[in-house]
């Protein structure tokens, strides 16, 4: 939880407050960024850009409309997509060549490790992965996803529905099918 006095101080461009805010939030910002950007060398640039926008626009943060964390996450994710548009980074995780194979066990989604889930998501058809990540993981509304990806709200809903079906299909099959199928 970010102290409101820090936010006020950042608004005044107090350098120490900026540092405090940065240090309190960088771990989370890095986690979110690395979820969307697979190229490690691009991450510092995106983080710098995100914080620059955060510091410049912090006055527009309205605590009554949501938590600071959600607001920050949206800035970072927007910046990641901006990065895609500029062609500086490939879109999300492309097939992970060295991703761990999914464990040879009866599968429940929650039983998979984060890496295994990432591996599963990376095999999804184009479009499914982004919508799934944005809606399920990062709690974006469909209208926000539509705006971010330049698709209609209906398209976002249908992509998510297909993504969920796709996951179910692959998880309800036998482990053998999944492991060999990929």
């Amino acid at each position: 939880v970010i102290n409101t006095s820090i936010i006020k101080a950042v608004e005044r461009r107090d350098e120490k407050a900026c540092q405090a805010l940065y240090e309190q939030s960088i771990a989370y910002v890095y986690t979110v960024t690395s979820r969307y950007i697979s190229n490690e060398t691009d991450i510092p640039d995106i983080i710098q850009e995100s914080y620059a926008r955060l510091f410049l626009n912090i006055a527009s943060f309205d605590p009554t409309r949501g938590a600071f964390k959600s607001w920050l996450r949206r800035i970072v994710i927007n910046q990641c997509f901006q990065h895609y548009r500029q062609g500086k980074s490939p879109r999300l995780h492309v097939a992970l060549d060295n991703a761990p194979p999914i464990a040879d066990k009866e599968l429940g989604l929650h039983e998979l490790s984060k890496e295994e889930i990432e591996s599963l998501l990376s095999k999804m058809p184009d479009g499914y992965q982004e919508v799934f990540m944005l809606v399920i993981i990062d709690e974006f509304k469909h209208s926000e996803v539509a705006q971010l990806l330049g698709i209609s709200v209906e398209a976002s809903r249908s992509q998510l529905s297909r993504a969920k079906k796709w996951i179910r299909k692959h998880l309800t099959n036998t482990t053998k099918t999944i492991v060999n199928g990929f």
Binding site: T31, I47, Q48, R85, L109, K114, P125, N173
Partner: protein
């Protein structure tokens, strides 16, 4: 299953990765602050750009409002002067000696007329009569008398004929006489008797030959060569009266055939968008200048529709259909039916098809200069000019580098069509229904002079062919 997805969310949300050393505040601080400066500058530039565009637009509007205001002011200030001056000039020119004065210093003549405070109705009446006389004079020119041996003689006879006809209308002559002062005294005295008129005018012509002959000859030569081509000499009286008004307002509705004018250096940026027949509406104001030339401005509304038709291959994937009946066996002896079941793998070849409509709505302000040509009840016009996209609204999606972007969002990043200039040529024909109203058709080709695309590798310069029908109102 949805609870499973929530658990995934928790797994991702609770995850905290160790921050690499290169993301320490000390190492990132300079980059963040320099980016803040850059972003601030960019935003300030955007604001400045907007301000500059708005200022230019405002100046342009003020400029054109000024021109229109000036035109209206000069019209309102002396509504009868222009017409009275025209009648005076016409009369004076055709009676050579007076014409010399009027032609050598037309402003003076105008001032005199203005000082005389001739009423609008009187002036208009006078003007109509003069036009009639001019038409008659035109006929006279068409059929020159063979007996005339020289230009000078021709001049005298034309003047003579003209004077004789003008005499028929006393009021016209008197007004003209007052306006031009002592110069027409000869003419006044000649009103009582036709023969006297002839001799008086002849005497006047001869007596002032030294002053009059050169300009008189020049004027008549010019008159003979060019006067018949002037719209004032067209045979239709409706057209004549319309031509006396300097203002015309037209309203046109029609269709627009257009294309994006798309060019790209990279194959993945090919255009998948094709223009469709679209709606267009024009409000056109014309201000007539002399010799058939005119200036025009107005508003053009364009609702340009296009169709995006994009298909791309997605990765093929395999679907396993479980427990499918593969074979049905019937035992010939017992009649027992046995189903053989198993899993079947089906290869799915997936494609993504995107088909939708885009709309580019533009409100343009055109500025043009052109000329008209009349023949019987038809009037042809040709004009050349430019237009500015004053307002624009885009809806739909645009494809760029294999990605779809919302057009509204893509503005300022990929495509921008507000405050862009276009060049156009336009031709039109109108048929006179009555003295105020014309039925018109016009054809306009317009091409954007600026690139709508913000990407250097891509050029989008739409071109349109507008065909429209409408009505033209001749204003007082």
């Amino acid at each position: 299953m949805d609870s499973e997805f929530n658990k995934i969310k928790d797994k991702f949300q609770k995850e905290k990765q160790n921050v690499p050393g290169n993301l320490d505040w000390g190492k990132m601080q300079a980059g963040i602050f320099s980016k803040m400066d850059r972003i601030s500058q960019e935003e300030a530039q955007k604001k400045d750009g907007k301000l500059l565009r708005r200022s230019l637009l405002l100046l342009l509007l003020i400029f054109f409002a000024g021109i229109i205001g000036w035109i209206c002011f000069t019209q309102q200030d002396s509504p009868s002067v222009d017409q009275a001056a025209l009648s005076t000039k016409t009369y004076v020119e055709n009676t050579e000696a007076k014409g010399l004065i009027a032609l050598s210093n037309p402003d003076k003549v105008l001032n005199k007329v203005s000082d005389a405070k001739i009423s609008a109705s009187a002036a208009r009446y006078d003007q109509k009569e003069v036009i009639t006389e001019r038409l008659q004079a035109g006929v006279a020119v068409k059929k020159p008398k063979k007996a005339l041996l020289s230009k000078e003689a021709n001049t005298e006879n034309l003047v003579f004929d003209k004077e004789a006809k003008l005499r028929k209308d006393q009021s016209s002559l008197n007004v003209s006489t007052d306006q031009t002062g002592g110069l027409t005294s000869t003419l006044n005295t000649s009103d009582s008797k036709e023969g006297g008129s002839r001799s008086a005018i002849n005497a006047s012509t001869r007596g002032r030959e030294g002053i009059a002959s050169l300009a008189s000859k020049q004027y008549l030569l010019r008159w003979e060569r060019g006067a018949m081509e002037s719209p004032l000499f067209s045979p239709s009286s409706i057209m004549e009266r319309k031509d006396m008004s300097k203002h015309q307002l037209g309203f046109f509705l029609g269709q627009s055939i257009w294309d994006m004018g798309y060019e790209s250096e990279s194959p993945e940026d090919s255009s998948f968008e094709t223009g469709r027949v679209s709606f267009t509406a024009h409000l056109d104001y014309q201000y007539k200048l002399s010799k058939g030339f005119f200036l025009s401005t107005g508003l053009i509304y364009q609702d340009l529709q296009s169709r995006l038709d994009w298909t791309t291959d997605l990765d093929d994937y395999t679907v396993t259909l479980e427990d499918v009946v593969l074979e049905v066996r019937r035992d010939a002896l017992t009649g027992e039916v046995e189903e053989v079941r198993g899993d079947v793998e089906v290869q799915v070849n997936a494609q993504r098809q995107v088909r939708h409509h885009n709309t580019y709505t533009l409100l343009q302000v055109p500025f043009a200069v052109g000329m008209t040509h009349s023949s019987s009840s038809l009037k042809w016009s040709y004009s050349l000019g430019g237009s500015l996209n004053l307002l624009s609204q885009n809806q739909g999606r645009i494809l760029f580098e294999g990605e779809l972007f919302n057009l509204e969002e893509a503005e300022t990043e990929l495509l921008e069509n507000q405050f862009k200039w276009n060049g156009f040529i336009r031709t039109g024909v109108s048929y006179s229904l009555n003295k105020r109203l014309d039925l018109g058709a016009q054809l306009m080709y317009q091409r954007s002079l600026n690139n709508w695309s913000m990407e250097e590798a891509v050029r989008i310069q739409p071109q349109q062919l507008n065909i429209s029908l409408g009505l033209l109102f001749t204003l007082e």
